[in-house]
Symmetry: C2
Subunit: 179 residues, 2 copies
């Protein structure tokens, strides 16, 4: 149920519409907890029903009205209680590694392409993280909240670097097998 908490955490910063939240889940907090816009709207409805956020419609002309959600005191209590509860290990589900595991039943040329595509995807992630770090964190005086985000971001960066290195090595190893 940590999508609820992730949304509440975003709303501790400032009130936001579902659309704002969906964008946030495509960027910053989405690096650590992925969610689609449908998931976000659905969960917002539940949070509203439970009284953990308050929603008010803001009229706009030309486009649909914004519905802006504000965290309530009850919502803040939920966030604090959640912070004390133990975390689960993220569940591993990586088809690419399953394909390596099943090497004998897989087209090696295709698998190499897939490894290279994956490497590029991680390079793109690394670049995105580094841009954010340079733009918002490097050489700045940081609040405690920002320092926490920087620690998470730094972990993301070092992880992407290592994954890229490991994937490049995997392609080399695969080449040695295929000959």
């Amino acid at each position: 149920m940590a999508l609820a908490e992730a949304i509440l955490v975003c709303l501790t910063d400032r009130p936001m519409s579902g659309y704002d939240l969906a964008k946030t889940f495509d960027a910053s907090i989405g690096f650590f907890w992925r969610a689609s816009h449908q998931q976000v709207y659905r969960e917002l409805a539940r949070l509203r029903d439970k009284g953990l956020v308050e929603s008010k419609e803001i009229e706009q002309s030309g486009r649909p009205n914004r519905i802006v959600h504000t965290i309530t005191e009850a919502g803040e209590k939920i966030v604090h209680a959640w912070s004390l509860k133990p975390c689960r290990m993220p569940s591993v589900k990586d088809e690419l590694l399953v394909k390596l595991y099943a090497l004998d039943h897989v087209d090696i040329a295709v698998l190499r392409e897939q490894l290279e595509l994956r490497t590029d995807q991680h390079r793109a992630k690394l670049t995105a993280y580094q841009r954010i770090k340079e733009k918002f964190y490097d050489g700045k005086t940081l609040s405690r909240a920002q320092k926490g985000k920087l620690i998470a971001l730094t972990m993301g960066i070092s992880n992407e670097r290592e994954v890229i290195r490991a994937l490049e090595q995997a392609v080399i190893s695969l080449g040695e097998i295929d000959g």
Copy 2:
């Protein structure tokens, strides 16, 4: 739907019962695709319905009969078709990073404990991977299938090492904030 394929991949090695498969998902292939025993039995029923595996009951005395599943030709075709399809990026969902992201709304002492617990869990994983590598792969002549498994395992090992290093650094950074 890659649980189906992961099971089929296991069955290309040898026919197995649901129980055998569940154990395999607690160890080897489960390092790359996690699944509970309930999931395995449910998926086996579906695979049987689709004619991708054939199941026969083997009588045992004292304990429930084993139902041993063998991959069919149709099943092997599915595995090959799957190997050609592009892979998705694994979906990120890590509460611990969300808590770092939400540092201002979190108990820092508790978070440090959670980071340390997570570090220990990754150390345990690393040890398990290394034992398997030493026992089954180091200094042995390997088939192509085994070489694929070794590449996946090597990626797992380097990833665990990096995650441990990054978590240790995160605890240090957190200490500097907290004072």
